[in-house]
Symmetry: C2
Subunit: 309 residues, 2 copies
Amino acid sequence: MLFGDRLAAAVRETGVPLCVGLDPHLARLPAALRAGFAGRSGRAGRAAAAAAVADWGAAVVAACAAARVPAVKPQLAFYEQLGAAGMEALEDTVAAARAAGLLVVADAKRGDIASTAAAYAAALLDPDGPLGADALTLSPYMGLDTLEPYLPVCRAAGRGLFVLVRTTNPGSAAIQAAGAPALARRVAEGLEAIGADTIGESGFSAVGAVVGASAAAEAGALRAAMPHAWFLVPGVGEQGGGLAEGLAGARADGLGALVVQARSATFPSAANAEYDESWPGWLRTRISHLANDMRAHHSVSAAGGAGLR
Amino acid sequence: MLFGDRLAAAVRETGVPLCVGLDPHLARLPAALRAGFAGRSGRAGRAAAAAAVADWGAAVVAACAAARVPAVKPQLAFYEQLGAAGMEALEDTVAAARAAGLLVVADAKRGDIASTAAAYAAALLDPDGPLGADALTLSPYMGLDTLEPYLPVCRAAGRGLFVLVRTTNPGSAAIQAAGAPALARRVAEGLEAIGADTIGESGFSAVGAVVGASAAAEAGALRAAMPHAWFLVPGVGEQGGGLAEGLAGARADGLGALVVQARSATFPSAANAEYDESWPGWLRTRISHLANDMRAHHSVSAAGGAGLR
């Protein structure tokens, strides 16, 4: 099945367009896990921290599966900072998530010339590679020709891409909103063309876009430019956006925006004894609340009808 | 010492502005190394391939040191495709290169929001991190604010950045040359401002730019926009550019352009029995020829005077 259809089916089945981000900030792990690597440094310290991150990832994945969340998004930087041991933790977390039926978006934001892009596709998306994620975030700065090496594995193995279009950080507008038409708009039109032969029965292609929630005012125009793209929407929760902003780019039937919650889904906003002492339970409760709250505000029927309640 | 000065000193000392790229395409490794992993797959196959890549990397590093090449540039995608074992091979290669006195540019082209950028800085540049490279390539699409988290380690540990400005691939112009002024020009001006407080005695800052050799016609204007930036110049050799194009962005005294040769420095262009049978010697000869050829055409004096002969 093509990726656009896989994601549409997962959102319909679970009833919630939520993607929980895994950003394992070491200082924000629960105290019980931090004790495993506190005060240790060097390769041994990284290995101990990676073991804690793997335990934490397993718990987040279990909480997502229990809450019927359709997708998770590990942010690779937090694993890479732990070296080879971190990559093993990432491989374990991705394998656990896929085994639990979750779709995995590897948040890597790679972007390079063709011969290098083929190696990234093997590294991150290929089912026979070390990670085998379901989808991958990419950067378009080097040109849209750099996306082409990823398309064979998208077609052959139901994999997908989310290409940076419009992000949420303070300096993004100076690059992405510049020009007439704006760069983001031109990238969007290019992605629509590249994804054209990967459109499934759901009407979604394998070539999606990262469109941050703070760009809600532009979301309608970007949806018009990319009618077949899934939007991956960061910027809700700790980055400040609300659910309505997150869903602003959805299609008329309510599908098409997959809202990311990362730190807000997995860490308390302040010191929290329950979190430090019984963190797997805290994660289950938090993620279940987030998913149910989103279900209460945004309906996605199994038959395909959907919309903001 | 600040990175701009470190690189200037290395180029003056070795007399050649060359950076050898390590792009370990598995199919292009010498036959003796390919025999170590041929026909194997899965995790064991990746571990065997990573061992071959580490052996190859050690030989490339030794050849660069023998030829007095100042810098190497491992392309991370080729290591990532081998999973955790690949990251160990990369760590070993970077450590060997730094031990041999070479500057290491980690070619990662990362780019993400601040909290994630800090994790990438820890992963790739921090001397206490797993890799501890001397410099890192980054992508500016998400905005120049995303570069700031890298600056503390640049200042504290003499690390540097090379940010994508103008690349060499066919689709690059549609993004980078679009707008008036062109996006590449606006990024260049932003990089000059960000690097302003990292300028050393050489006149170079810690914030450099990737400017491909096929953009030679634009190199003068980009040099004017970024008078204090080191240019990292891919696109010479197998990608088609010549040495004069590669050096087009150099400062009037001949410093400022670090020319990358990757596949052309490390692989034969066609089947080659000598390469397959005695590849460490083949690498030494090839890289020595490349470096001496560049020395013959471009003079860099120890006193700082330099220029195309």
